[in-house]
C-alpha cells in the first residue's frame, strides 16, 4: 500500500475527448499514455516518479479494461528490459523511473534496447531529480541519451506540453525505430494544471496478441554481425529520421520577434524560468509575449542543425540556457556555428553557473548579465542602472540562529531503535566502519546518530564494504541495506557477493515491509496482502538460500536491548562468513495509515481498545537530553518549565506520539533515566477492567491520602 492513494484521482483517467482534465503533472502523463494506446507500462518508484507508479497501481481497473499490462518492475533495469516487448512487435510500451540513479541501473538494458532498436514506440519517462531538494548525486540524463543514441525530450513544464510530448515521443520512437526518453523535472511532476483530454485508445496489438503470434528477427538481436550494423543504422537511418520528424512536426518552438540582434536558446524545461526572468527584466508579459527571440528545445537530443543556424541568422549573440554540466548542448551549438563559419557569438556558462540548479535568481542574474552586455538599450532604465537602496537588512546573524532542518526519521519509525542500538554498541566496542545504503535508513548519517561513512547505490551497502575484509583486522565492518534495496539489487550484489567472497562483516537488513523511502510501495517481502502482486516472501529465506550461515531475525526492532545484544554478538562471534541480521518492524507511517482508521472505528463501535502514548515526568527529567541523542523522534522534544530553579528545558512528548515504545526501550537499554512512562488508555473497558480499576483506585487512593496527610503539600508542586 503506497503512502498516497490516488484512488479518487484515477477516475480522471476516464475523461473523454473535449473534457478538461485538472490535476497533477504525473497524472497527466498517465492519461497521455492511455490516449496514445499504450500496450504495457512498468517502472520503478522513486521521487519524482513515485506518484506515477502509484497512479498506475491504483489505476489497474482502468488499465485492465483497456487491455494494458502494468508491471511494478523489480528495478529500473527490469523496467527498461521490459521494453524488449516493443522490439519485434508494434506495441507501444512505457517505462518510468527516477533519473539519474535509475538510468544508471537501467544502463545495460538501455544500451541493448537502443542497439537493436524498436518497432513499437518505446518511451522511457525519467523523473529528473536535479537541484534543490534532490536526494541524489547531481548528474544529467542527457549523457545517457547521447551515449546510447536514444532521443531525449525535455518539454516545457506545463500540462498541455508534457501531454503533447508523450504523444510525439511515441511517434518519434516508431518513425526512427529508437527508444525515446522523456525527461520531466521534479516540480513539473507535481505541478497542478489543466489540459483538454482525448479519448483513451485500446492498444492496436496487446501483449496477449503478441504472445499468441511470436515473432523474431535476428537482425534486431544484439549479436555480431547485427550489432555492427546497428551502430551504422543509428547514424544512417535512425538519426536522419528523428531529425526530420522533429523538424517537420515543429517539436522545438520559437517565441518572440522573428528578428533581433540577440536570442536565447533553452531546454524546454527551463522555459518558464527564462520567461520569469524576462518578465522581471521588463522584456516579457505575464503570458510569455516577449521582445527577445527564443528557441525552445523540447527535443534536446538530437539537435537540429539547420533549425539552430536559421535561428542564429542575423543575430550577434545567442545565449544557451542549459542546466547542469557538462554543457553538451552549448558545445554542440558552438561546433555547428564554427563549422558553418558563422560569426554569431555563442555564450552560456559565461553568464550562467557551470553547475547547480538554475533558480529564479540565477536566471535573473545570468540573463540580465547577457542582455546588459549585448542590448542594454532595450532594457528599462531601472534594470540598466538600478538605484540600489540599501535596506540595511543583515541576515548574517540570522544564519547562525536558524537551525538546519534536514529530513529525518518519522514519528515512531522502527529504524531509529536499530541505530540507537548501533550507537550503544559502538560505545562499548568502539567505532566501526559503517557502510550505508539508499533508503530512509540513510537518515542515520544525520544527527543524532551520525553513523555511516558512504552510500554507493541502491542495495550496494554491503557491497561497498566488501573491500573491508581482512584476516588482520580486529574489527568488522557493519553495513546496512534496506528491504527495498535488498530486493532491487542487494540480494545478489551485496549478500551473494559477501557469501562468495567469505566476507566477515556484519550486514544489517532493515526490513520495514515496504519500499518506504519511495512512498511505501509493496515489495516481495511486504506482509500485506496485495490483490495484483505476490507478497509475503521472507527476506530470511532468501538470505538462507544465498548460503548465509549466521543469520538472526529480530521481529521487533523496538527491542533495543535485543538489537544491541545481537549486534554485539555479530561483531564478536568466531563464526566465519557474513553475519546477517534482518531487523523487521513495519514502517510506522504506513502502519498508522492502515491502523488508525480501524482503531478509531473500533473505539466508536464500543470495542475494548488499548491505545498507548508515552510521557515524561518533567520533575524527574533533569534536562540533559541524553534520550534525544539516542532517539531523534520528532514527537520527543524540549519544553521550558515555568520554574526559575531549572535552567535547561526538559524532555516532552507531544500529541503526535504513536506509542511505539522506543523512548522507554532506549532509556532502559542505555540506562538513562526513569522519567519516561507509557500511558495506555483502555477504551471501552470490560466489566472486569472496571472492577479491577475500582479496587486498585481505592487501595492506591488510600495509600496516597495516608502519605499526603502526613506531609506538606504545595499546591503548585
Amino acid at each position: 500500500m503506497a503512502e498516497r492513494s490516488f484512488a479518487k484521482e484515477v477516475e480522471k483517467l476516464r475523461l473523454g475527448a473535449g473534457e478538461e482534465f485538472s490535476g497533477e503533472g504525473i497524472l497527466a502523463i498517465t492519461k497521455a499514455l492511455l490516449q496514445c494506446g499504450v500496450g504495457y507500462v512498468g517502472g520503478y518508484q522513486g521521487a519524482p516518479i513515485s506518484h506515477l507508479m502509484d497512479v498506475l497501481a491504483d489505476a489497474q481497473d482502468i488499465l485492465g479494461e483497456l487491455g494494458v499490462h502494468f508491471e511494478a518492475s523489480a528495478s529500473e533495469a527490469t523496467a527498461t528490459a521490459m521494453l524488449a516487448a516493443s522490439v519485434h512487435y508494434p506495441i507501444r510500451g512505457a517505462a518510468t523511473f527516477k533519473s539519474t540513479v535509475g538510468t544508471n541501473v537501467a544502463s545495460d538494458a538501455l544500451a541493448n534496447l537502443a542497439s537493436g532498436g524498436v518497432t513499437g514506440g518505446a518511451l522511457i519517462i525519467v523523473g529528473e531529480d536535479y537541484g534543490e531538494g534532490s536526494s541524489i548525486m547531481q548528474e544529467r540524463s542527457h549523457a545517457f541519451a547521447m551515449k546510447s543514441q536514444v532521443w531525449l525530450l525535455d518539454p516545457r513544464p506545463n500540462l498541455p506540453s508534457i501531454v503533447k510530448a508523450v504523444e510525439e515521443g511515441f511517434e518519434l520512437s516508431e518513425i526512427s525505430n529508437t527508444p525515446v526518453m522523456l525527461q520531466v523535472r521534479i516540480r513539473c511532476c507535481h505541478v497542478h494544471g489543466h489540459f483538454i483530454a482525448k479519448d483513451n485508445k485500446r492498444p492496436a496489438m496487446t501483449v496477449a496478441d503478441a504472445l499468441d503470434a511470436p515473432r523474431r528477427d535476428t537482425g534486431r538481436i544484439v549479436l555480431p554481425p547485427a550489432s555492427f550494423l546497428h551502430e551504422k543504422e543509428k547514424v544512417q537511418k535512425r538519426w536522419p529520421a528523428a531529425v526530420d520528424f522533429i523538424r517537420n512536426n515543429k517539436i522545438n518552438e520559437f517565441f518572440g520577434p522573428e528578428h533581433g540582434s540577440v536570442g536565447i536558446v533553452m531546454q524546454g524545461g527551463m522555459y518558464n524560468s527564462v520567461i520569469r526572468a524576462l518578465q522581471r527584466l521588463g522584456l516579457a508579459d505575464t503570458y510569455g509575449a516577449t521582445d527577445v527571440p527564443l528557441y525552445v528545445l523540447n527535443a534536446v537530443y538530437p539537435l537540429i542543425d539547420d533549425e539552430f543556424l536559421s535561428f542564429c541568422e542575423g543575430k550577434d549573440a545567442v545565449l544557451v540556457v542549459e542546466e547542469g554540466q557538462p554543457n553538451y548542448i552549448e558545445q554542440a551549438f558552438a561546433a555547428m556555428l564554427h563549422k558553418a563559419g558563422r560569426g554569431t557569438k555563442l555564450v552560456g556558462k559565461e553568464h550562467l553557473p557551470m553547475a547547480g540548479e538554475y533558480t529564479g535568481q540565477v536566471m535573473l542574474d545570468g540573463i540580465g548579465s547577457f542582455l546588459r552586455a549585448t542590448i542594454p538599450h532595450l532594457l528599462p532604465s531601472e534594470v540598466r542602472a538600478p538605484n540600489k537602496i540599501g535596506d540595511g537588512l543583515d541576515t548574517a546573524d540570522l544564519i547562525n540562529v536558524v537551525p538546519g532542518r534536514p529530513p529525518g526519521f518519522c514519528v515512531g519509525c522502527p529504524e531509529r531503535p536499530i541505530f540507537a542500538a548501533t550507537k550503544l554498541v559502538e560505545q562499548e566496542l568502539g567505532k566501526h566502519h559503517i557502510a550505508s545504503d539508499i533508503g530512509c535508513h540513510l537518515f542515520s548519517i544525520m544527527p543524532p546518530f551520525e553513523l555511516g561513512a558512504t552510500t554507493m547505490g541502491y542495495g550496494l551497502g554491503p557491497a561497498s564494504a566488501s573491500a573491508f575484509n581482512s584476516p588482520d583486522a580486529k574489527r568488522r565492518s557493519i553495513s546496512f541495506v534496506g528491504d527495498g534495496g535488498f530486493w532491487h539489487n542487494g540480494l545478489t550484489s551485496s549478500v551473494g557477493n559477501a557469501v562468495f567472497n567469505k566476507n566477515d562483516g556484519v550486514i544489517v537488513i532493515v526490513d520495514n515491509f515496504y519500499s518506504a523511502a519511495t512512498g511505501g510501495q509493496d515489495i516481495l517481502s511486504s506482509r500485506a496482502g496485495n490483490k495484483t502482486k505476490s507478497t509475503k516472501h521472507p527476506i530470511t529465506e532468501a538470505v538462507k538460500g544465498m548460503g548465509v550461515k549466521w543469520l538472526r531475525h529480530i521481529d521487533r526492532t523496538y527491542d533495543v536491548t535485543k538489537m544491541q545484544d545481537t549486534l554485539r554478538e555479530a561483531l564478536t562471534t568466531d563464526e566465519k562468513g557474513p553475519k546477517v541480521i534482518v531487523a523487521s518492524s513495519e514502517c510506522m507511517l504506513n502502519r498508522q495509515r492502515r491502523e488508525k482508521p480501524l482503531v478509531d472505528k473500533a473505539i466508536k463501535g464500543g470495542e475494548r481498545v488499548l491505545k498507548p502514548k508515552f510521557g515524561v515526568d518533567e520533575d524527574i527529567c533533569t534536562g540533559d537530553h541524553a534520550c534525544m541523542r539516542l532517539s531523534g523522534c520528532p514527537s520527543l522534544s524540549v519544553k521550558s518549565l515555568d520554574d526559575p530553579l531549572r535552567d535547561d528545558p526538559v524532555a516532552h512528548i507531544d500529541q503526535s506520539c504513536v506509542g511505539c515504545g522506543n523512548c522507554g526501550e532506549v532509556a532502559d537499554a542505555a540506562v538513562l533515566c526513569p522519567s519516561f512512562y507509557r500511558a495506555d488508555v483502555v477504551h471501552n473497558p470490560s466489566r472486569w477492567d472496571r472492577f479491577l480499576e475500582a479496587a486498585r483506585r481505592a487501595t492506591i487512593g488510600f495509600l496516597q491520602r495516608r502519605r499526603e496527610s502526613r506531609r506538606l503539600t504545595f499546591a503548585d508542586a
Binding site: 497542478h192 516579457a284 503570458y287 537588512l393 529530513p407 510521557g615 522534544s637 526559575p644 512512562y677 506531609r711
Partner: protein, 530 residues
C-alpha cells in the same frame, strides 16, 4: 546581483497585463503544507483566477523543511506562464508554518520590505540539532521576530499551532485563516470557507480554527506582537500567596521557615522561597531549615551593590543540590496523587476509559548501594566482586505498573524510605560534595565576588542519572579544574562561565576540553592583574 523591476509590463498599445501574485509556504514536513497549498489554489480558482501550485514532495512526510509554491492571476482566457519555484525578492505572500521557517525564508531572500506579507506561526518545532545539546540549544526566537519586523512589509505572527490544537484541527486551517484575515489576497472570507468545506474531512474543526485565526489576524494586523512567550510577565509569587496544606504542626513549622525567607533581602526572596518549597517537598521541614542555614552563609557575605547575585545563585543551586535525584525521590514523585492527575490530563483520559501506566526503571548496583545505610553501602562498594555479583542480579530493565497494586506499593514503599534518607550512603556522598563546592565558592567571595557566583552556577552542570550523571560530574570537575590554571587573573569568572557554557554544548564535553586547552595556554596574559 541584479535588481529586478516589477514583472508587470505594459507598453503602449499592448493589452493590459495581469499581475501575478506569488505565494510561498515554508513548512516542516508533516505539517500539512500540501493541504494548505491545495486550499489556496482552490480559493483562487473560485474567485476567477488561474492558479498553479507546485512542491518538492520528497521530504514532505519526513520532518525536513519543505516549500510549496503557488502563483495566480486573474483569468483573462489567456494562459499565463507561471514559474515553478519562488525567487529571491519576488514573493508577495510568504506563509511560514513555524517560526524558524520564517527565519529561513528571510535568509533565502523570499521576504522583502517593499512587498512581502509575512504570515508566520510563532510556535517552535525544535530541530534535532537544538534538541541534542545537553544544555539549552534552542535558537533565539526574539532574533527572528526582530529581523522579520524589518524584513517584511507586514509581519503577522501568532501561535497558529495553538489555535489549531484548541479547535481540534491542524495548523493548515489556522494558517489559511491568518492568510484570509490578512487581506493579502483579494478574496472574500466566504470563498475560503467554501474551499475548506469542499475538502470534506474534519470540516467543522477546520472552520473553527480558520475562524479563530482569521479574527486574530484581523485584530493584530500591522501591530505584530513580540515573541508571545517573552511578552508574558514573569510569574512572581511570594510566600504570602503560596498554597500549602498539611497537618497543623508541619504548617506551623513551614510558617516559621517562610518567616525566615520574608526577612531576607527582597531581591532574593522569590528564589529562596521556591528553593525552600523544593527542599521541604523533597524531604521535610528540618531539611528546609538546613537549606536556609546554608543560604544564610552566602547572605551574610553578600552586598546589595551586587543585587544579591551571589545569594540568588546560592538559593537556586543549593536547592537543586540538596534535592539530588535518587530512587526515593523518583518513587515518591511517581506515586503522588498530583502526578496521577497530571498524567490523566496530559494523555487526555476521558470518562469511562481506564488509564494504565508503565514506568521504565533500570537500577544498577550504584543506585542500590546509594539506598542502603551508608556503612553497608560503602562496605559493598569497597568489594568489587561482591558489587559485581549483586549488579548481575539488580542491573536489569524493570517495567513497573504504577496503576497496579503490587507495582504501586513497591514504589510507595521506596518513596517512604525518605524518612531514613539522611542515613543513607547517597546522602552522605551528595552532602559531602555539596559542602566542598559551596565552601569553595564562598571562599572566593572576598577576593572575587563574580567568580564565587560563577562557581555556584556550575552546579547547573550536574544532572542526569547513572552514566549521564557520572559524565555530568566529570564535566563539573573539569570546569572547576580550570580554577588553578586561571589563578591570579581578573577575568577568571568570565572564563568559568565560558567553560560552563561549552560544557553544555555536547555530550562528552569535547568543546569543553578544547576550551580547557585554550585556558592552559593563557598564562599571565592581558587579563592578569599586573
Amino acid at each position: 546581483m541584479l535588481d529586478a523591476v516589477p514583472s508587470s509590463r505594459s507598453k503602449a498599445g499592448a493589452l493590459e497585463d495581469e499581475r501575478v501574485i506569488k505565494l510561498a509556504v515554508l513548512a516542516v514536513g508533516g505539517q500539512g503544507g500540501g493541504v494548505l497549498a491545495d486550499w489556496i489554489t482552490d480559493v483562487a480558482e473560485r474567485n476567477g483566477y488561474v492558479a498553479q501550485s507546485t512542491s518538492v514532495a520528497g521530504v514532505a512526510q519526513r520532518t525536513g523543511a519543505t516549500i510549496y509554491y503557488v502563483e495566480m492571476c486573474r483569468d483573462t482566457g489567456r494562459l499565463p506562464v507561471f514559474a515553478l519555484s519562488p525567487s529571491q525578492g519576488d514573493v508577495d505572500i510568504l506563509i511560514a508554518a513555524e517560526l524558524m521557517e520564517a527565519g529561513r525564508a528571510i535568509i533565502r531572500g523570499f521576504v522583502t520590505p517593499e512587498r512581502t506579507t509575512l504570515i508566520a506561526s510563532s510556535h517552535r518545532i525544535a530541530a534535532v540539532s537544538e534538541k541534542i545539546e545537553p544544555g539549552d540549544g534552542r535558537a533565539s526566537s526574539p532574533k527572528v521576530h526582530a529581523t522579520a519586523e524589518a524584513a517584511a512589509k507586514r509581519f503577522i505572527a501568532f501561535d497558529m499551532e495553538k489555535i489549531a490544537a484548541d479547535n481540534g484541527s491542524m495548523i493548515s486551517a489556522s494558517l489559511l485563516g491568518a492568510l484570509a484575515g490578512s487581506d493579502a489576497l483579494p478574496f472574500t472570507r466566504e470563498s475560503y470557507e467554501q474551499a475548506v468545506s469542499a475538502g470534506g474531512r474534519g470540516v467543522k474543526a477546520s472552520l473553527a480554527a480558520f475562524g479563530a485565526a482569521f479574527d486574530r489576524a484581523r485584530g493584530i494586523t500591522n501591530t505584530p506582537p513580540l515573541g508571545e512567550k517573552a511578552a508574558e510577565p514573569k510569574a512572581i509569587e511570594t510566600g504570602a500567596t503560596a498554597k500549602v496544606s498539611g497537618p497543623e504542626n508541619l504548617l506551623k513549622g513551614w510558617q516559621d521557615l517562610a518567616a525566615r525567607v520574608a526577612a531576607l533581602p527582597l531581591p532574593l526572596r522569590d528564589m529562596s522561597l521556591r528553593g525552600l518549597k523544593k527542599v521541604v517537598d523533597y524531604q521535610d521541614i528540618a531539611y528546609g531549615g538546613e537549606y536556609l542555614d546554608r543560604l544564610d552563609r552566602a547572605v551574610i557575605l553578600d552586598k546589595a551593590d551586587h543585587d544579591y547575585a551571589l545569594s540568588i545563585s546560592a538559593a537556586k543551586h543549593l536547592a537543586n543540590a540538596m534535592c539530588y535525584d535518587d530512587m526515593i525521590r523518583v518513587a515518591d514523585l511517581k506515586t503522588r496523587s498530583t502526578r496521577d492527575k497530571r498524567v490523566r490530563r496530559e494523555v487526555g483520559v476521558k470518562d469511562g476509559s481506564i488509564l494504565q501506566v508503565t514506568e521504565y526503571f533500570h537500577p544498577r548496583i550504584e543506585e542500590f548501594c546509594g539506598t542502603l545505610p551508608s556503612g553497608l553501602g560503602s562496605y559493598i562498594e569497597a568489594r568489587p566482586k561482591l558489587a559485581a555479583f549483586l549488579d548481575r542480579r539488580i542491573n536489569h530493565g524493570r517495567r513497573i505498573r504504577t496503576d497496579s497494586f503490587a507495582g504501586f506499593t513497591a514504589l510507595w514503599f521506596i518513596g517512604g524510605l525518605r524518612r531514613w534518607r539522611r542515613r543513607l550512603l547517597r546522602h552522605k556522598v551528595e552532602t559531602a560534595h555539596l559542602e566542598r563546592w559551596y565552601a569553595l565558592a564562598l571562599g572566593y567571595v572576598p577576593k572575587d565576588y563574580a567568580l564565587a557566583t560563577e562557581i555556584l552556577n556550575c552546579r547547573r552542570l550536574i544532572k542526569g542519572y547513572s552514566d549521564t550523571h557520572v559524565r555530568a560530574r566529570s564535566k563539573f570537575d573539569r570546569v572547576l579544574s580550570a580554577l588553578d590554571l586561571l589563578k591570579g587573573r581578573t577575568d577568571t569568572a568570565d572564563w568559568i562561565r565560558r567553560l560552563r557554557e561549552m560544557a553544555l554544548k555536547d555530550e562528552k564535553g569535547d568543546m569543553l576540553d578544547g576550551a580547557l586547552k585554550t585556558v592552559a595556554t593563557l598564562g599571565d596574559g592581558a587579563g592578569s592583574p599586573n
